[in-house]
Symmetry: C2
Protein backbone atom coordinates (compact mmCIF):
# COMPACT_ATOMS: atom_id res chain seq x y z
CA UNK A 1 0.00 0.00 0.00
CA UNK A 2 3.01 2.27 -0.38
CA UNK A 3 3.37 3.15 3.25
CA UNK A 4 6.83 1.85 3.73
CA UNK A 5 8.82 3.45 0.96
CA UNK A 6 9.44 6.75 2.67
CA UNK A 7 11.25 5.23 5.60
CA UNK A 8 14.29 4.44 3.52
CA UNK A 9 14.93 8.07 2.72
CA UNK A 10 18.03 9.70 4.09
CA UNK A 11 19.77 7.22 6.31
CA UNK A 12 19.31 3.65 7.32
CA UNK A 13 16.32 4.09 9.58
CA UNK A 14 13.96 6.59 11.16
CA UNK A 15 15.46 6.03 14.56
CA UNK A 16 18.84 7.36 13.58
CA UNK A 17 17.67 10.92 13.95
CA UNK A 18 16.50 10.34 17.48
CA UNK A 19 19.42 8.25 18.65
CA UNK A 20 22.38 9.95 17.03
CA UNK A 21 22.04 13.60 18.07
CA UNK A 22 23.00 16.17 15.43
CA UNK A 23 26.38 17.74 16.00
CA UNK A 24 25.53 21.29 17.02
CA UNK A 25 22.84 20.37 19.51
CA UNK A 26 23.62 21.49 23.03
CA UNK A 27 21.18 19.61 25.25
CA UNK A 28 20.19 22.25 27.79
CA UNK A 29 18.06 19.70 29.59
CA UNK A 30 20.22 16.57 29.73
CA UNK A 31 17.30 14.40 28.55
CA UNK A 32 18.75 11.13 29.77
CA UNK A 33 19.42 8.70 26.94
CA UNK A 34 16.34 7.04 25.61
CA UNK A 35 16.04 3.32 25.88
CA UNK A 36 16.02 1.59 22.52
CA UNK A 37 12.37 0.76 22.91
CA UNK A 38 11.42 4.36 23.61
CA UNK A 39 13.55 5.66 20.77
CA UNK A 40 11.74 3.33 18.40
CA UNK A 41 8.34 4.33 19.75
CA UNK A 42 9.24 7.97 19.23
CA UNK A 43 10.51 7.28 15.74
CA UNK A 44 7.33 5.47 14.74
CA UNK A 45 5.24 8.30 16.12
CA UNK A 46 7.27 10.89 14.27
CA UNK A 47 6.96 8.80 11.14
CA UNK A 48 3.19 8.78 11.52
CA UNK A 49 2.89 12.55 11.74
CA UNK A 50 5.53 13.11 9.08
CA UNK A 51 3.62 10.99 6.61
CA UNK A 52 0.34 12.43 7.81
CA UNK A 53 -1.22 9.04 8.44
CA UNK A 54 -4.91 9.27 9.23
CA UNK A 55 -6.96 7.16 11.63
CA UNK A 56 -7.45 3.78 10.03
CA UNK A 57 -4.20 3.80 8.08
CA UNK A 58 -2.01 0.80 8.63
CA UNK A 59 1.52 0.74 9.97
CA UNK A 60 4.17 -1.64 8.67
CA UNK A 61 3.85 -5.04 10.28
CA UNK A 62 6.02 -6.26 13.08
CA UNK A 63 8.25 -8.21 10.72
CA UNK A 64 8.90 -5.14 8.59
CA UNK A 65 9.58 -3.00 11.63
CA UNK A 66 12.02 -5.58 12.95
CA UNK A 67 13.98 -5.24 9.73
CA UNK A 68 13.60 -1.48 9.55
CA UNK A 69 14.93 -0.92 13.02
CA UNK A 70 17.11 -4.00 13.24
CA UNK A 71 15.58 -4.72 16.60
CA UNK A 72 14.16 -7.86 18.09
CA UNK A 73 10.51 -8.72 18.12
CA UNK A 74 10.16 -8.06 21.82
CA UNK A 75 11.62 -4.59 21.52
CA UNK A 76 9.34 -3.69 18.63
CA UNK A 77 6.36 -5.02 20.49
CA UNK A 78 7.19 -2.92 23.54
CA UNK A 79 7.40 0.14 21.35
CA UNK A 80 4.05 -0.64 19.77
CA UNK A 81 2.59 -1.27 23.19
CA UNK A 82 3.68 2.19 24.26
CA UNK A 83 1.85 3.71 21.30
CA UNK A 84 -1.17 1.55 21.95
CA UNK A 85 -1.25 2.67 25.57
CA UNK A 86 -1.31 6.26 24.41
CA UNK A 87 -4.30 5.40 22.25
CA UNK A 88 -2.42 6.22 19.07
CA UNK A 89 -2.70 2.79 17.49
CA UNK A 90 -4.77 -0.34 17.75
CA UNK A 91 -3.68 -3.72 16.47
CA UNK A 92 -5.52 -6.67 15.05
CA UNK A 93 -4.42 -10.21 14.33
CA UNK A 94 -5.01 -12.18 11.21
CA UNK A 95 -4.40 -11.59 7.53
CA UNK A 96 -4.43 -7.91 6.69
CA UNK A 97 -4.00 -7.29 10.38
CA UNK A 98 -1.38 -5.18 12.04
CA UNK A 99 -1.21 -1.87 13.82
CA UNK A 100 -3.60 0.85 12.71
CA UNK A 101 -3.53 4.51 13.49
CA UNK A 102 -6.37 5.37 15.86
CA UNK A 103 -7.98 8.52 17.09
CA UNK A 104 -7.47 8.83 20.82
CA UNK A 105 -10.94 8.58 22.31
CA UNK A 106 -12.19 11.06 24.85
CA UNK A 107 -12.75 8.29 27.35
CA UNK A 108 -9.20 7.03 27.05
CA UNK A 109 -7.81 10.56 27.21
CA UNK A 110 -9.72 11.12 30.45
CA UNK A 111 -8.40 7.89 31.92
CA UNK A 112 -4.84 8.92 31.17
CA UNK A 113 -5.39 12.39 32.54
CA UNK A 114 -7.05 11.13 35.69
CA UNK A 115 -3.72 9.65 36.75
CA UNK A 116 -2.35 13.15 37.08
CA UNK A 117 -4.95 14.03 39.66
CA UNK A 118 -4.61 10.82 41.62
CA UNK A 119 -1.96 12.31 43.89
CA UNK A 120 -3.29 15.86 43.54
CA UNK A 121 -6.95 15.48 44.30
CA UNK A 122 -8.84 18.72 43.81
CA UNK A 123 -11.51 19.62 46.32
CA UNK A 124 -15.17 19.97 45.53
CA UNK A 125 -14.68 23.69 45.68
CA UNK A 126 -11.85 23.47 43.16
CA UNK A 127 -13.93 21.53 40.70
CA UNK A 128 -16.97 23.74 41.00
CA UNK A 129 -14.87 26.87 40.64
CA UNK A 130 -14.20 25.58 37.14
CA UNK A 131 -17.63 24.20 36.43
CA UNK A 132 -19.26 27.49 37.40
CA UNK A 133 -17.16 29.23 34.79
CA UNK A 134 -17.32 26.70 32.00
CA UNK A 135 -20.68 24.94 32.04
CA UNK A 136 -22.54 28.22 31.45
CA UNK A 137 -20.39 28.87 28.39
CA UNK A 138 -21.02 25.34 27.27
CA UNK A 139 -24.77 25.88 27.53
CA UNK A 140 -24.56 29.16 25.68
CA UNK A 141 -22.57 27.58 22.87
CA UNK A 142 -25.39 25.12 22.22
CA UNK A 143 -28.29 27.58 22.09
CA UNK A 144 -30.19 27.14 18.86
CA UNK A 145 -27.72 24.57 17.57
CA UNK A 146 -29.21 21.28 18.71
CA UNK A 147 -31.25 18.97 16.52
CA UNK A 148 -34.34 16.97 17.35
CA UNK A 149 -32.26 13.84 17.92
CA UNK A 150 -30.10 15.67 20.45
CA UNK A 151 -33.11 16.81 22.44
CA UNK A 152 -34.55 13.34 22.34
CA UNK A 153 -31.33 11.95 23.76
CA UNK A 154 -31.29 14.53 26.54
CA UNK A 155 -34.92 13.96 27.45
CA UNK A 156 -34.39 10.23 27.50
CA UNK A 157 -31.63 10.65 30.04
CA UNK A 158 -33.78 12.94 32.14
CA UNK A 159 -36.43 10.28 32.26
CA UNK A 160 -34.05 8.23 34.42
CA UNK A 161 -34.45 10.69 37.25
CA UNK A 162 -37.83 12.32 36.71
CA UNK A 163 -39.25 10.20 39.51
CA UNK A 164 -38.30 9.58 43.13
CA UNK A 165 -35.83 6.75 43.54
CA UNK A 166 -37.09 3.48 44.96
CA UNK A 167 -33.80 2.28 46.43
CA UNK A 168 -30.46 3.69 47.52
CA UNK A 169 -28.98 2.09 44.45
CA UNK A 170 -31.35 4.02 42.25
CA UNK A 171 -30.54 7.18 44.16
CA UNK A 172 -26.94 6.74 43.10
CA UNK A 173 -27.87 5.84 39.55
CA UNK A 174 -29.96 8.97 39.24
CA UNK A 175 -27.03 11.14 40.21
CA UNK A 176 -24.90 9.50 37.59
CA UNK A 177 -27.65 10.02 35.04
CA UNK A 178 -27.79 13.67 35.98
CA UNK A 179 -24.07 13.95 35.31
CA UNK A 180 -24.66 12.07 32.08
CA UNK A 181 -27.06 14.83 31.04
CA UNK A 182 -24.23 17.32 31.31
CA UNK A 183 -21.90 14.93 29.54
CA UNK A 184 -24.21 14.78 26.55
CA UNK A 185 -24.24 18.56 26.36
CA UNK A 186 -20.46 18.57 26.49
CA UNK A 187 -20.19 16.05 23.67
CA UNK A 188 -22.27 18.32 21.49
CA UNK A 189 -20.17 21.37 22.20
CA UNK A 190 -18.66 22.92 19.07
CA UNK A 191 -15.56 23.90 21.03
CA UNK A 192 -13.67 20.62 21.47
CA UNK A 193 -11.50 21.92 24.27
CA UNK A 194 -14.42 23.27 26.25
CA UNK A 195 -16.39 20.09 25.73
CA UNK A 196 -13.56 17.86 26.80
CA UNK A 197 -12.73 19.84 29.90
CA UNK A 198 -16.34 19.88 31.04
CA UNK A 199 -16.62 16.15 30.57
CA UNK A 200 -13.41 15.62 32.44
CA UNK A 201 -14.52 17.73 35.37
CA UNK A 202 -17.64 15.63 35.53
CA UNK A 203 -15.70 12.38 35.72
CA UNK A 204 -13.32 13.90 38.22
CA UNK A 205 -16.30 14.71 40.38
CA UNK A 206 -17.80 11.28 39.87
CA UNK A 207 -14.61 9.62 41.01
CA UNK A 208 -14.03 11.65 44.15
CA UNK A 209 -14.59 9.21 46.96
CA UNK A 210 -16.41 11.83 48.94
CA UNK A 211 -18.86 12.23 46.09
CA UNK A 212 -19.59 8.55 45.91
CA UNK A 213 -20.77 8.86 49.47
CA UNK A 214 -22.70 12.04 48.91
CA UNK A 215 -24.47 10.52 45.96
CA UNK A 216 -25.93 7.87 48.20
CA UNK A 217 -27.69 10.43 50.37
CA UNK A 218 -31.36 10.81 49.52
CA UNK A 219 -32.25 14.39 48.63
CA UNK A 220 -35.61 14.79 46.95
CA UNK A 221 -35.43 18.58 46.83
CA UNK A 222 -32.18 18.66 44.89
CA UNK A 223 -33.51 16.20 42.37
CA UNK A 224 -36.60 18.34 41.83
CA UNK A 225 -34.58 21.50 41.63
CA UNK A 226 -32.08 19.99 39.21
CA UNK A 227 -34.84 18.71 37.03
CA UNK A 228 -36.50 22.08 36.86
CA UNK A 229 -33.19 23.74 35.97
CA UNK A 230 -32.73 21.32 33.15
CA UNK A 231 -36.25 21.75 31.83
CA UNK A 232 -35.80 25.49 31.77
CA UNK A 233 -32.42 24.99 30.17
CA UNK A 234 -33.80 22.86 27.35
CA UNK A 235 -36.48 25.48 26.69
CA UNK A 236 -33.87 28.21 26.44
CA UNK A 237 -31.68 26.09 24.18
CA UNK A 238 -34.58 25.32 21.84
CA UNK A 239 -35.47 28.99 21.63
CA UNK A 240 -31.85 29.87 20.96
CA UNK A 241 -31.57 32.15 23.99
CA UNK A 242 -27.90 31.80 24.79
CA UNK A 243 -27.75 34.33 27.60
CA UNK A 244 -30.64 32.73 29.40
CA UNK A 245 -29.21 29.24 29.01
CA UNK A 246 -25.95 30.44 30.44
CA UNK A 247 -27.64 32.06 33.42
CA UNK A 248 -29.71 28.99 34.17
CA UNK A 249 -26.67 26.78 34.06
CA UNK A 250 -24.79 29.08 36.37
CA UNK A 251 -27.57 28.96 38.94
CA UNK A 252 -27.66 25.21 38.57
CA UNK A 253 -23.94 24.93 39.25
CA UNK A 254 -24.12 27.22 42.26
CA UNK A 255 -26.95 25.23 43.77
CA UNK A 256 -25.15 21.95 43.17
CA UNK A 257 -21.98 23.29 44.74
CA UNK A 258 -23.82 24.56 47.79
CA UNK A 259 -25.40 21.19 48.28
CA UNK A 260 -22.21 19.20 47.78
CA UNK A 261 -20.25 21.38 50.13
CA UNK A 262 -22.83 21.20 52.85
CA UNK A 263 -22.79 17.42 52.59
CA UNK A 264 -19.02 17.42 52.70
CA UNK A 265 -19.13 19.58 55.83
CA UNK A 266 -21.50 17.16 57.49
CA UNK A 267 -19.23 14.27 56.67
CA UNK A 268 -16.30 16.11 58.12
CA UNK A 269 -18.20 16.96 61.27
CA UNK A 270 -19.04 13.29 61.60
CA UNK A 271 -22.80 13.75 61.45
CA UNK A 272 -23.00 11.24 58.66
CA UNK A 273 -20.99 8.08 58.79
CA UNK A 274 -18.45 7.30 56.11
Amino acid sequence: MGLQEEQAEGSQGPVSGAAARPAGEAPAAPARRLKRTDAIAEAIKDWIVLNQLQPGDRLPQEKALIEQFKASKGTIREALKALETQGLIRSRTGPGGGAFVAELSGERAMELLANYFFFRQPSIRDIYALRKRLEPDLAASLAGRLGAADFRRLEETMRLYDHPPATTGEEYEQRLAELEFHSILAELCPNPALGFICRFLQTLLRNLTICRRIYDIPNPELRDAGLSYQIRLLRALKAGRAEEASAIMYEHMCAAERYMESCEAEFRAGFLKL
Copy 2:
Protein backbone atom coordinates in the same frame (compact mmCIF):
# COMPACT_ATOMS: atom_id res chain seq x y z
CA MET B 1 10.21 -2.78 52.54
CA GLY B 2 7.46 -5.31 53.14
CA LEU B 3 5.62 -4.54 49.97
CA GLN B 4 5.31 -8.00 48.59
CA GLU B 5 3.58 -9.91 51.31
CA GLU B 6 0.09 -8.85 50.47
CA GLN B 7 0.18 -10.33 47.03
CA ALA B 8 -0.06 -13.81 48.34
CA GLU B 9 -3.34 -13.13 50.03
CA GLY B 10 -6.44 -14.85 48.73
CA SER B 11 -5.64 -16.75 45.58
CA GLN B 12 -2.56 -17.39 43.54
CA GLY B 13 -2.37 -14.01 41.89
CA PRO B 14 -4.10 -10.68 41.44
CA VAL B 15 -4.85 -11.33 37.80
CA SER B 16 -6.85 -14.44 38.42
CA GLY B 17 -9.99 -12.39 38.78
CA ALA B 18 -9.45 -10.75 35.46
CA ALA B 19 -8.10 -13.58 33.38
CA ALA B 20 -9.98 -16.66 34.52
CA ARG B 21 -13.53 -15.40 34.42
CA PRO B 22 -15.74 -16.72 37.20
CA ALA B 23 -18.41 -19.05 35.96
CA GLY B 24 -21.58 -17.03 36.43
CA GLU B 25 -20.28 -13.77 35.03
CA ALA B 26 -22.56 -12.29 32.42
CA PRO B 27 -20.69 -9.38 30.86
CA ALA B 28 -23.41 -6.77 30.36
CA ALA B 29 -21.11 -4.50 28.39
CA PRO B 30 -19.27 -6.85 26.04
CA ALA B 31 -15.92 -5.20 26.87
CA ARG B 32 -13.92 -7.24 24.40
CA ARG B 33 -11.64 -9.64 26.18
CA LEU B 34 -8.47 -8.08 27.41
CA LYS B 35 -5.22 -9.35 26.09
CA ARG B 36 -3.16 -11.06 28.74
CA THR B 37 -0.72 -8.19 28.75
CA ASP B 38 -3.43 -5.62 29.36
CA ALA B 39 -5.05 -7.72 32.05
CA ILE B 40 -1.75 -7.89 33.89
CA ALA B 41 -1.16 -4.16 33.52
CA GLU B 42 -4.61 -3.52 34.96
CA ALA B 43 -4.00 -5.95 37.79
CA ILE B 44 -0.72 -4.33 38.74
CA LYS B 45 -2.33 -0.92 38.69
CA ASP B 46 -5.19 -2.10 40.86
CA TRP B 47 -2.70 -3.68 43.19
CA ILE B 48 -0.87 -0.37 43.50
CA VAL B 49 -3.96 1.57 44.49
CA LEU B 50 -5.26 -1.23 46.69
CA ASN B 51 -2.04 -1.26 48.69
CA GLN B 52 -1.85 2.52 48.59
CA LEU B 53 1.68 2.55 47.24
CA GLN B 54 3.17 6.03 47.21
CA PRO B 55 5.52 7.59 44.66
CA GLY B 56 8.96 6.08 45.21
CA ASP B 57 7.69 2.74 46.49
CA ARG B 58 9.04 -0.27 44.68
CA LEU B 59 7.07 -2.87 42.80
CA PRO B 60 7.99 -6.55 42.87
CA GLN B 61 10.74 -7.33 40.42
CA GLU B 62 10.17 -8.85 37.03
CA LYS B 63 11.07 -12.31 38.24
CA ALA B 64 8.57 -12.12 41.06
CA LEU B 65 5.87 -10.82 38.74
CA ILE B 66 6.57 -13.65 36.34
CA GLU B 67 5.86 -16.11 39.10
CA GLN B 68 2.90 -14.14 40.45
CA PHE B 69 1.14 -13.97 37.13
CA LYS B 70 2.57 -17.12 35.62
CA ALA B 71 3.40 -15.17 32.51
CA SER B 72 6.56 -14.90 30.48
CA LYS B 73 9.12 -12.17 30.77
CA GLY B 74 8.03 -10.55 27.51
CA THR B 75 4.42 -10.30 28.60
CA ILE B 76 5.34 -8.84 31.97
CA ARG B 77 7.62 -6.36 30.31
CA GLU B 78 4.87 -5.25 27.96
CA ALA B 79 2.58 -4.72 30.91
CA LEU B 80 5.19 -2.68 32.74
CA LYS B 81 5.86 -0.71 29.58
CA ALA B 82 2.18 0.21 29.45
CA LEU B 83 2.31 1.51 33.00
CA GLU B 84 5.54 3.34 32.29
CA THR B 85 3.97 4.99 29.25
CA GLN B 86 1.15 6.24 31.43
CA GLY B 87 3.74 7.77 33.73
CA LEU B 88 2.69 5.56 36.63
CA ILE B 89 6.03 3.84 37.12
CA ARG B 90 9.68 4.33 36.29
CA SER B 91 12.22 1.55 36.22
CA ARG B 92 15.87 1.45 37.01
CA THR B 93 18.49 -1.20 36.34
CA GLY B 94 21.10 -2.48 38.70
CA PRO B 95 20.94 -3.96 42.19
CA GLY B 96 18.05 -2.56 44.17
CA GLY B 97 16.56 -1.57 40.84
CA GLY B 98 13.16 -2.41 39.53
CA ALA B 99 9.94 -0.59 38.86
CA PHE B 100 9.03 2.30 41.15
CA VAL B 101 5.74 4.08 41.52
CA ALA B 102 5.97 7.57 40.06
CA GLU B 103 3.84 10.66 40.16
CA LEU B 104 2.63 11.50 36.68
CA SER B 105 4.27 14.81 35.85
CA GLY B 106 2.29 17.70 34.46
CA GLU B 107 4.47 17.76 31.37
CA ARG B 108 3.88 14.11 30.64
CA ALA B 109 0.15 14.47 31.30
CA MET B 110 0.00 17.30 28.80
CA GLU B 111 1.86 15.27 26.20
CA LEU B 112 -0.61 12.44 26.57
CA LEU B 113 -3.56 14.78 26.43
CA ALA B 114 -2.23 16.61 23.40
CA ASN B 115 -2.77 13.47 21.37
CA TYR B 116 -6.50 13.88 21.88
CA PHE B 117 -6.45 17.25 20.19
CA PHE B 118 -4.21 16.19 17.33
CA PHE B 119 -7.18 15.26 15.15
CA ARG B 120 -9.51 17.78 16.81
CA GLN B 121 -7.54 20.98 16.66
CA PRO B 122 -9.32 23.80 18.45
CA SER B 123 -9.26 27.22 16.85
CA ILE B 124 -7.64 30.27 18.36
CA ARG B 125 -11.10 31.45 19.26
CA ASP B 126 -11.82 28.16 21.04
CA ILE B 127 -8.71 28.40 23.14
CA TYR B 128 -9.19 32.01 24.06
CA ALA B 129 -12.82 31.42 24.96
CA LEU B 130 -11.40 29.27 27.73
CA ARG B 131 -8.41 31.40 28.61
CA LYS B 132 -10.63 34.47 28.99
CA ARG B 133 -12.66 32.61 31.57
CA LEU B 134 -9.90 30.86 33.44
CA GLU B 135 -6.78 33.01 33.49
CA PRO B 136 -8.59 35.80 35.37
CA ASP B 137 -9.65 33.30 38.04
CA LEU B 138 -6.10 32.02 38.14
CA ALA B 139 -4.80 35.53 38.74
CA ALA B 140 -7.38 36.17 41.42
CA SER B 141 -6.48 32.95 43.21
CA LEU B 142 -2.89 34.15 43.59
CA ALA B 143 -3.57 37.61 44.98
CA GLY B 144 -1.69 38.09 48.21
CA ARG B 145 -0.43 34.53 48.19
CA LEU B 146 2.91 34.76 46.41
CA GLY B 147 6.25 34.88 48.14
CA ALA B 148 9.30 36.93 47.32
CA ALA B 149 10.87 34.02 45.46
CA ASP B 150 7.81 33.70 43.26
CA PHE B 151 7.91 37.36 42.30
CA ARG B 152 11.60 37.10 41.59
CA ARG B 153 10.98 34.20 39.25
CA LEU B 154 8.24 36.07 37.44
CA GLU B 155 10.30 39.22 37.07
CA GLU B 156 13.24 37.22 35.79
CA THR B 157 11.07 35.79 33.06
CA MET B 158 9.76 39.23 32.17
CA ARG B 159 13.31 40.43 31.72
CA LEU B 160 13.52 38.19 28.67
CA TYR B 161 11.08 40.41 26.82
CA ASP B 162 11.42 43.81 28.46
CA HIS B 163 13.41 45.00 25.46
CA PRO B 164 12.83 45.02 21.69
CA PRO B 165 13.96 41.82 20.01
CA ALA B 166 17.13 41.95 17.94
CA THR B 167 16.31 39.08 15.61
CA THR B 168 13.30 37.11 14.40
CA GLY B 169 14.51 34.26 16.52
CA GLU B 170 14.39 36.44 19.59
CA GLU B 171 10.93 37.64 18.60
CA TYR B 172 9.76 34.06 18.81
CA GLU B 173 11.65 33.40 22.03
CA GLN B 174 10.04 36.41 23.63
CA ARG B 175 6.59 35.10 22.86
CA LEU B 176 7.42 31.79 24.43
CA ALA B 177 8.77 33.62 27.46
CA GLU B 178 5.54 35.54 27.69
CA LEU B 179 3.65 32.27 27.74
CA GLU B 180 6.13 31.02 30.31
CA PHE B 181 5.11 33.91 32.54
CA HIS B 182 1.57 32.60 32.52
CA SER B 183 2.82 29.09 33.02
CA ILE B 184 4.61 30.09 36.21
CA LEU B 185 1.42 31.64 37.53
CA ALA B 186 -0.44 28.44 36.72
CA GLU B 187 2.12 26.32 38.54
CA LEU B 188 1.58 28.40 41.64
CA CYS B 189 -2.20 28.09 41.52
CA PRO B 190 -3.68 26.52 44.65
CA ASN B 191 -6.38 24.87 42.55
CA PRO B 192 -4.57 21.99 40.81
CA ALA B 193 -7.24 21.53 38.17
CA LEU B 194 -7.33 25.20 37.25
CA GLY B 195 -3.56 25.39 37.14
CA PHE B 196 -3.22 22.35 34.96
CA ILE B 197 -5.88 23.41 32.49
CA CYS B 198 -4.37 26.85 32.10
CA ARG B 199 -0.97 25.39 31.48
CA PHE B 200 -2.41 22.98 28.99
CA LEU B 201 -4.21 25.71 27.07
CA GLN B 202 -0.92 27.54 26.87
CA THR B 203 0.90 24.57 25.36
CA LEU B 204 -2.01 23.91 23.04
CA LEU B 205 -1.66 27.46 21.80
CA ARG B 206 2.09 27.16 21.52
CA ASN B 207 1.75 24.07 19.37
CA LEU B 208 -0.84 25.39 16.93
CA THR B 209 1.02 25.69 13.66
CA ILE B 210 -0.72 28.94 12.93
CA CYS B 211 0.64 30.34 16.17
CA ARG B 212 4.18 29.39 15.38
CA ARG B 213 3.84 31.60 12.35
CA ILE B 214 2.15 34.42 14.18
CA TYR B 215 4.83 34.39 16.82
CA ASP B 216 7.41 35.22 14.19
CA ILE B 217 5.69 38.46 13.23
CA PRO B 218 7.26 41.52 14.81
CA ASN B 219 4.78 43.50 16.87
CA PRO B 220 6.38 46.03 19.19
CA GLU B 221 3.05 47.44 20.41
CA LEU B 222 1.78 44.11 21.66
CA ARG B 223 4.98 43.45 23.52
CA ASP B 224 4.75 46.82 25.24
CA ALA B 225 1.10 46.35 26.01
CA GLY B 226 1.64 42.85 27.35
CA LEU B 227 4.47 44.02 29.52
CA SER B 228 2.39 46.81 31.01
CA TYR B 229 -0.46 44.41 31.73
CA GLN B 230 1.93 42.14 33.55
CA ILE B 231 3.51 44.94 35.54
CA ARG B 232 0.09 46.10 36.66
CA LEU B 233 -0.83 42.51 37.40
CA LEU B 234 2.17 41.96 39.64
CA ARG B 235 1.34 45.14 41.53
CA ALA B 236 -2.20 44.00 42.12
CA LEU B 237 -1.03 40.54 43.20
CA LYS B 238 1.44 41.98 45.67
CA ALA B 239 -1.22 44.22 47.14
CA GLY B 240 -3.62 41.29 47.39
CA ARG B 241 -6.24 42.93 45.19
CA ALA B 242 -7.86 39.86 43.65
CA GLU B 243 -10.62 41.67 41.77
CA GLU B 244 -8.19 44.00 40.13
CA ALA B 245 -5.80 41.19 39.17
CA SER B 246 -8.68 39.34 37.60
CA ALA B 247 -9.78 42.37 35.61
CA ILE B 248 -6.29 43.08 34.36
CA MET B 249 -5.83 39.53 33.24
CA TYR B 250 -9.16 39.58 31.43
CA GLU B 251 -8.18 42.67 29.49
CA HIS B 252 -4.84 41.07 28.72
CA MET B 253 -6.53 37.98 27.34
CA CYS B 254 -8.96 39.99 25.24
CA ALA B 255 -6.16 42.03 23.74
CA ALA B 256 -4.12 38.93 22.98
CA GLU B 257 -7.07 37.26 21.35
CA ARG B 258 -7.83 40.28 19.20
CA TYR B 259 -4.27 40.38 18.01
CA MET B 260 -4.02 36.65 17.31
CA GLU B 261 -7.27 36.60 15.40
CA SER B 262 -6.36 39.56 13.28
CA CYS B 263 -3.09 37.86 12.38
CA GLU B 264 -4.93 34.66 11.59
CA ALA B 265 -7.31 36.58 9.34
CA GLU B 266 -4.40 38.10 7.47
CA PHE B 267 -2.87 34.69 6.94
CA ARG B 268 -6.13 33.41 5.62
CA ALA B 269 -6.51 36.34 3.29
CA GLY B 270 -3.02 35.63 2.04
CA PHE B 271 -1.61 38.99 3.01
CA LEU B 272 1.16 37.27 4.87
CA LYS B 273 2.84 34.27 3.39
CA LEU B 274 2.80 30.96 5.19
